[in-house]
């Protein structure tokens, strides 16, 4: 199996709609979400395990859990 093709679940925030309330930050067990400059939430792809707790909590329901390939992930982080 090609390691770089392994699928992982990650949280994605529709940042444009974020109200920066921080509800997601409070429930993330891994501390993988932060509020950037009081404007919007940002997920740290290295820490997120895609558990979906933040998505459930977000009052605006703007977080989705999507499957990504690890390779794509690494590219995005550079």
């Amino acid at each position: 199996m090609d390691k770089t093709k392994r699928k992982k679940r990650k949280a994605f925030v529709e940042q444009d709609m974020c109200v920066s309330c921080g509800s997601c930050v409070k429930v993330c067990p891994l501390g993988a979400i932060q509020i950037v400059k009081g404007i919007m939430a940002q997920v740290d792809m290295n820490k997120c395990v895609g558990c979906g707790k933040c998505a459930k909590e977000c009052p605006a329901s703007i977080i989705s859990i999507e499957e990504v390939e690890e390779e794509y992930n690494e590219k995005k982080l550079v």
């Binding site: 109200v19 920066s20 309330c21 921080g22 009081g38 009052p59």
Partner: protein
């Protein structure tokens, strides 16, 4: 997860609402919920108040979460649109200034003190049991009634949307939340 002292500020928010049933003058303390978030956003340029200290958000989170008073459904799309959020902010402020205007009339002696709490800007509830006179001007009490009305109105609205949608739905259209986010946007753009 480790709990911090500020994770218990919902107790303060609850106490505030209860105190207003005993002596309306406690309503003045609510000004803290206006000035602290504003100062944090202006000085530090973040939403530290919402993200950490706001007891009201915590209270809704608790009632809707652990106490299961929320249907946990998605909020309708229009309620999270910028139109609605900024529109509600403006509406809220117009009503706020109207309240200040009424208070001014009492201060100026042009109007008498009204011992009522106005819910949802419409329903006037008699609240005379919580008024035992004041050492100060009746205008001081009028402001307390007015400010408590604002706090109760937002609690009632927040409670309804908590039940209907997600626990912290109020945070989507909370005027303080919208305003502090706006301040952060403006402030951090300049940097």
């Amino acid at each position: 997860m480790k709990k911090n002292w500020y994770d218990y500020l919902w107790i303060v928010s609850l106490t505030y609402l209860i105190l207003g049933f005993f002596n309306i003058l406690f309503a003045w303390l609510g000004l803290l919920c206006f000035f602290i978030p504003l100062l944090i956003s202006i000085i530090k340029g973040n939403k530290g108040y919402c993200n950490r200290y706001c007891g009201r958000g915590q209270l809704f989170g608790l009632l809707g979460g652990r106490f299961g008073l929320s249907r946990k459904k998605d909020i309708p799309h229009w309620m999270k649109s910028k139109w609605f959020r900024y529109g509600f902010l403006i509406f809220f402020f117009i009503m706020f200034f109207q309240m200040l205007w009424n208070t001014y009339f009492v201060f100026a002696g042009a109007d008498n003190l009204k011992q009522t709490v106005t819910l949802l800007w419409t329903f006037k509830l008699p609240w005379n049991w919580a008024y035992h006179g004041t050492f100060f001007h009746p205008g001081v009490a009028q402001f307390a009634f007015g400010f408590y009305s604002v706090m109760m109105t937002s609690t009632v609205l927040g409670f309804f949307t908590m039940v209907l949608f997600k626990p912290r739905s109020w945070c989507v259209y909370c005027p303080m939340g919208t305003m502090t986010q706006l301040i952060c946007k403006v402030r951090n753009r300049k940097e």
